[in-house]
């Protein structure tokens, strides 16, 4: 079993430490968060369909960023191949809903489950590589999935497929339902990662990140923890892929398996602040707000995305959230040790 000591104080302070999580700011932040989600939940009664469709894009970014952060920020695995699972999620939804005839809303979690089932054996291959070679290895896997999918006529081979299973639902409702589903998924994913990081797995991951050798000699099963992260991240990216397809009603191999998703995930996480729960959410918001102005830039759009990611990595590696310097903490995962003197 995983054995981790509670944090110890520096020797010789001679006082009893109190270990606690978060603080008053965190409770205030948490309450604010509930309010924000409540407002977002009410939005379909207020805003246009177009806005709802846009916001689903934001929720997908939140999910993708949170998953990539789980991989890289907490698991130390830089993947540039998560589009494999975005694609499987998207195609899974189409296949289940169109060909198998499963209810489309039910198809979304099932597609995510399929991603997890694919990711588990895949991890045995991918984990033979580490660091940068792991990154390219995940990309190769995504390419393989893309090339295989383009051979499958049942999902439109190279030209893609449309999602028509929603056609029984009035568009007004369909858009609102997809919106609520996506909001729900985003909340579940963010809160889920938060809870995951507070669990033993979170402690194990933190230990691995800080010192893999020490962690493994302390009994942390490094590979098992990483594998779990990889599988969870695959399922999460599958959810995002299904959300994207449920939102746009169309799936094409060239776009759903695009490595641009990797670029966007890196951007969202790095800008927001890698290794924090809040960072990717903030990063997704920034990307979402910039998207329109970025879209006007044409090809320069990704130049800016890449350039900003480089600049932030080198100059402000803790990202925007890091600029708050822990003054605000919505999701207290870290321990604070208060020493009374």
């Amino acid at each position: 079993m995983t054995q981790l000591d509670a944090p110890r104080t520096a020797a010789g302070t001679g006082s009893v430490p109190r270990v606690r999580r978060g603080g008053r700011a965190a409770w205030a932040g948490g309450a604010g968060l509930v309010a924000v989600v409540a407002v977002l939940g009410y939005l379909p009664y207020l805003v246009s369909r177009g806005t709802q469709v846009d916001l689903v894009g934001l929720f997908a970014l939140v999910v993708l960023g949170t998953m990539w952060n789980l991989l890289a920020g907490y698991g130390g695995m830089v993947s540039i191949g998560q589009q494999a699972y975005i694609g499987i999620g998207g195609y899974g939804l189409v296949y289940l809903a169109e060909t198998v005839g499963v209810d489309p809303f039910l198809s979304v979690p099932v597609a995510a489950l399929v991603c997890a089932l694919v990711a588990w054996p895949t991890s045995y291959l991918a984990f033979r590589l580490s660091g940068g070679y792991f990154a390219i290895g995940t990309w190769v896997i995504a390419e393989v999935v893309r090339l295989l999918v383009t051979q499958v006529d049942a999902v439109g081979a190279g030209s893609g497929a449309s999602l028509t299973a929603f056609s029984g639902i009035e568009p007004l409702y369909r858009i609102a339902f997809v919106y609520w589903m996506s909001l729900g998924i985003a909340v579940v994913v963010v809160v889920g990662v938060y809870l995951l990081m507070r669990s033993r797995l979170g402690l194990a991951l933190t230990a691995i990140r800080d010192d893999p050798t020490a962690a493994s000699s302390a009994g942390v099963r490094v590979t098992r923890a990483k594998r779990l992260v990889y599988v969870v991240a695959a399922a999460g990216c599958g959810l995002a892929g299904a959300m994207i397809v449920a939102n746009t009603l169309r799936v094409q191999p060239g776009s759903i398996f695009s490595v641009d998703y990797a670029a966007i995930m890196v951007f969202v996480v790095v800008i927001g602040g890698i290794g924090t729960i809040e960072g990717p959410v903030l990063g997704a918001l920034v990307f979402y707000l910039l998207q329109d102005s970025l879209a006007d830039l044409g090809n320069w759009y990704l130049v800016v995305v890449g350039g900003v990611a480089i600049a932030v990595t080198l100059l402000a590696p803790r990202g925007l959230w890091g600029l708050t310097r822990g003054r605000v903490e919505l999701f207290p995962t870290g321990y604070r040790v208060a020493v009374r003197r």
Binding site: G131, G132, E143
Partner: protein, 289 residues
């Protein structure tokens, strides 16, 4: 005979893949950086030759005389300006920075040259060859490309084994701090390694651009093929990379002989198979170079 032909062409292609991979291997061997912009940089070199061809009417091989030193200079500055900083920023930073760089370069190329397919013309050399038998001929150009790959790998190997700078590079790779104690400026050595890597990738890019069409997005497959050659061959061995490139080239050739759509996929599958059964590569080396 078409199978034999597929194998022969695959072997020649493998030499070219090894040429692309050599720089990736070198940079990883010396600094433990996987340069995710490596493929795009090959494409940058190809566009460089294209521009020189259009502006000055230079043959791609003559253009190499300008493109190679230019890319080497870019490599030196890239290391000193960006990658050195990234190296000091922990394990993830070099990956994030080089990936960001790949995105930036690819889209700058897209803006400058559009997504149109381009090809470098090497004249008659590109189409002529020697006929060995019915359905089996060896093109001069693929042969030249493969031989260049072998020559570059042999040259790099000699450089690392025999020269003062090469030895310092291996020393800095083993223990940068101890190397500093010997008077080796590890940062300068790293910059030299990146410069060399980009010089070789420039040659590779020009050969790739003359062998088939390319566009700004071609860096992705270039990086992936180079990486597959490295992993199939076994990390840390330049000759292993050559062998890995050949295995990859043959797999792609045979796959394409079955159905043109299967060429690349067959290469990926062989790579995954090697990863599954021989994760240290087919030709692992005891000593890292």
């Amino acid at each position: 005979m078409s199978w034999v032909n597929a194998v022969v062409q695959g072997v020649l292609l493998g030499g070219l893949y090894a040429l692309v991979a050599a720089g990736l291997s070198l940079v990883f061997g010396v600094m433990r950086i996987v340069n995710l912009a490596h493929g795009v940089l090959a494409v940058v070199a190809a566009y460089g030759a294209l521009v020189l061809g259009r502006a000055l009417g230079l043959h791609p091989f003559l253009a190499l005389l300008l493109v190679v030193p230019a890319m080497a200079a870019i490599g030196y500055l890239l290391q000193r300006g960006l990658l050195d900083r990234a190296l000091r920023g922990g394990e993830l930073a070099p990956l994030l920075v080089t990936f960001g760089l790949a995105i930036v370069l690819q889209n700058v190329l897209l803006e400058a040259f559009s997504a149109d397919n381009q090809r470098l013309s090497v004249g008659a050399l590109g189409t002529s060859g020697v006929r060995i038998a019915d359905g089996l001929s060896i093109g001069w150009f693929p042969l030249l490309a493969a031989l260049t790959g072998v020559a570059v790998i042999a040259g790099l190997g000699r450089f690392l084994a025999r020269t003062r700078t090469g030895r310092a590079m291996r020393a800095a790779s083993d223990d940068p701090e101890a190397a500093r104690l010997m008077g080796v400026d590890d940062r300068r050595i790293y910059a030299v390694a990146t410069a060399l890597a980009l010089a070789t990738v420039a040659v590779a890019g020009v050969f790739l651009g003359a062998r088939s069409t390319f566009d700004p997005a071609a860096g992705a497959t270039t990086l992936i093929f180079a990486f597959e050659a490295v992993v199939i061959g076994g990390l840390g061995s330049l000759w292993g990379t050559l062998a890995g490139g050949i295995v990859l080239g043959v797999a792609q050739g045979l796959g394409a002989a079955v159905d043109p759509a299967y060429g690349v996929l067959a290469g990926h599958l062989v790579f995954l198979a090697v990863l599954a059964v021989k994760p240290r590569g087919l030709f692992p080396s005891a000593v890292t170079a």
